[in-house]
């Protein structure tokens, strides 16, 4: 069953989303009335079932998301366990360090510091229980703010986060760096 253009767009958005996407946001992205979203998502849900896909589109609290089909859980679980290395990658450790020192911190702030997309790493750290959502930032979308957990402190042998070795922030913030970069860029892009 070939999908409609709007259903395809919804599917693409759900593919890159890390958290459930509210119907209102989908309507906004597609520039359609919000009551059109449900039938389109139903079309998607139905097509996945009919074509026997390995994933499903599900409606859960807060919106829609894509998840693996429950009957394939054994493969997914095996993958999750073979893929895991016994140590954190340098990138993951740096991300954890940023959360530890800068908490509460949003994913966008971490990404700005690291200069790369950190969604996967943040999810891994959250999944492992080293970091957790500790609040929501004000402003559009109310992004989640992350902090370290008690499990993290316990593993590091600390009582409080304040016991981490002190660091001095000698560097200009990401905003300042971005601004500087802008100024230094020549008039026309090479």
């Amino acid at each position: 069953m070939a999908l409609s253009e709007e259903s395809r767009a919804i599917e693409a958005v759900l593919m890159v989303a890390v958290e459930p996407v509210p119907a209102g946001l989908l309507a906004e992205l597609l520039e359609i009335p919000v009551d059109r979203v449900e039938p389109l998502c139903d079309e998607l849900i139905e097509s996945c079932r009919e074509d026997n896909r390995g994933f499903a589109v599900v409606r859960i609290a807060g919106g829609y998301r894509i998840q693996t089909h429950p009957d394939l859980a054994p493969y997914v679980e095996r993958f999750a366990n073979v893929g895991v290395s016994s140590r954190l990658s340098a990138a993951a450790l740096e991300t954890l360090a940023i959360v530890a020192y800068k908490q509460p911190v949003s994913r966008a702030q971490i990404a700005a510091l690291r200069g790369v997309n950190v969604d996967g790493v943040v999810r891994l750290l959250e999944h492992r229980g080293y970091i957790a959502t500790v609040g929501r930032a004000p402003g559009p979308g109310q992004p989640a703010l992350y902090g370290t957990t008690d499990a993290f402190l316990e593993r590091m042998g600390l009582d409080r986060v304040e016991q981490l070795p002190p660091v001095e922030d000698l560097l200009p913030g990401p905003d300042a760096v971005a601004e500087l970069e802008e100024q230094l860029r020549p008039a026309a892009d090479a």
Binding site: S86, L93, E94, L96, L171, E181, D189
Partner: protein, 259 residues
């Protein structure tokens, strides 16, 4: 904004001029290079902001034109001995090969841009594992201490790419003597005596080595290190003078070198 030139034989963008010369539609012999440069400099003078891309593009093309013309003006085979003639041909072959190769890489760069542009229209799924899956993994923080974490934080915050200036051709290393002085201040008291080679072994650019040398001279001037050299071109031996004040007025050393 592409650089344009206006010459008796040609008027238009300078890279087009190069193409025409390459395709033999304009003779490099008839292109007055000095006039072309004068006209470009006059055009630059009218710019409100300096456009580095156009400047460097012009420089590259102008350099190729100068090279082409100098080859064209070389004495012919009649004036040279057989051996030299041969080496002249060899030189031209090499030049031709280089020009061709440069054009190929320039074409590759254009192809890369298109491929990257196309690839960037697709975004990979990054959501990771669904909730509720059990991961029986070893503790990932095994062996990680708070100090490791601090080091990772410093790495993460220091690893920001330096602001990228499209200087195109010039590499600017800014190394301050003051920084080198502070670094040596920490290092030398620990080792006591070291050789200059040993102190600069980890450095990669000549400018860094020079700055290290200047820093040593500065410390020597302040009577905080002793320098010895056994023989001409011998390795410089650096000895930290114990009892010297432990903090240097780094503010007194504030000049910077750019290479």
């Amino acid at each position: 904004m592409a650089a344009t030139v206006s010459l008796p034989v040609f008027e238009g963008p300078i890279d087009l001029l190069l193409q025409l010369i390459n395709s033999h539609q304009v003779d490099i012999y008839d292109v007055p290079l000095a006039e072309m440069v004068d006209a470009f400099v006059a055009e630059v003078a009218t710019w409100e902001a300096v456009d580095l891309s156009t400047l460097s593009e012009f420089l590259v093309v102008a350099a190729v034109l100068v090279e082409l013309k100098s080859k064209r003006l070389l004495p012919g085979p009649d004036d040279v001995e057989a051996d030299e003639e041969l080496s002249g041909w060899e030189e031209r072959d090499l030049l031709l090969a280089r020009l061709l190769e440069c054009q190929a890489y320039s074409a590759a760069a254009d192809a890369f841009t298109l491929m990257m542009e196309y690839a960037s229209r697709s975004v990979p799924r990054q959501a990771g594992l669904d909730d509720g899956f059990a991961v029986h993994a070893p503790d990932l923080l095994e062996g990680v201490t708070p100090n490791h974490l601090m080091a990772a934080y410093l790495r993460a915050t220091a690893a920001r790419p330096a602001p990228v200036v499209d200087l195109y051709h010039v590499t600017v290393d800014t190394v301050s003597v003051a920084e080198a002085v502070s670094e040596l201040e920490v290092r030398l008291p620990r080792v006591g005596t070291a050789t200059f080679r040993g102190l600069t072994r980890h450095l990669t650019t000549r400018m860094e080595v020079i700055v290290r040398f200047l820093a040593l001279l500065e410390l020597c001037k302040q009577g905080r290190v002793a320098l010895d050299q056994w023989g001409t071109f011998g390795d410089l031996e650096v000895t930290w003078v114990t009892g010297a004040p432990t903090t240097v007025s780094v503010g007194a050393v504030d000049y910077e070198y750019e290479g």
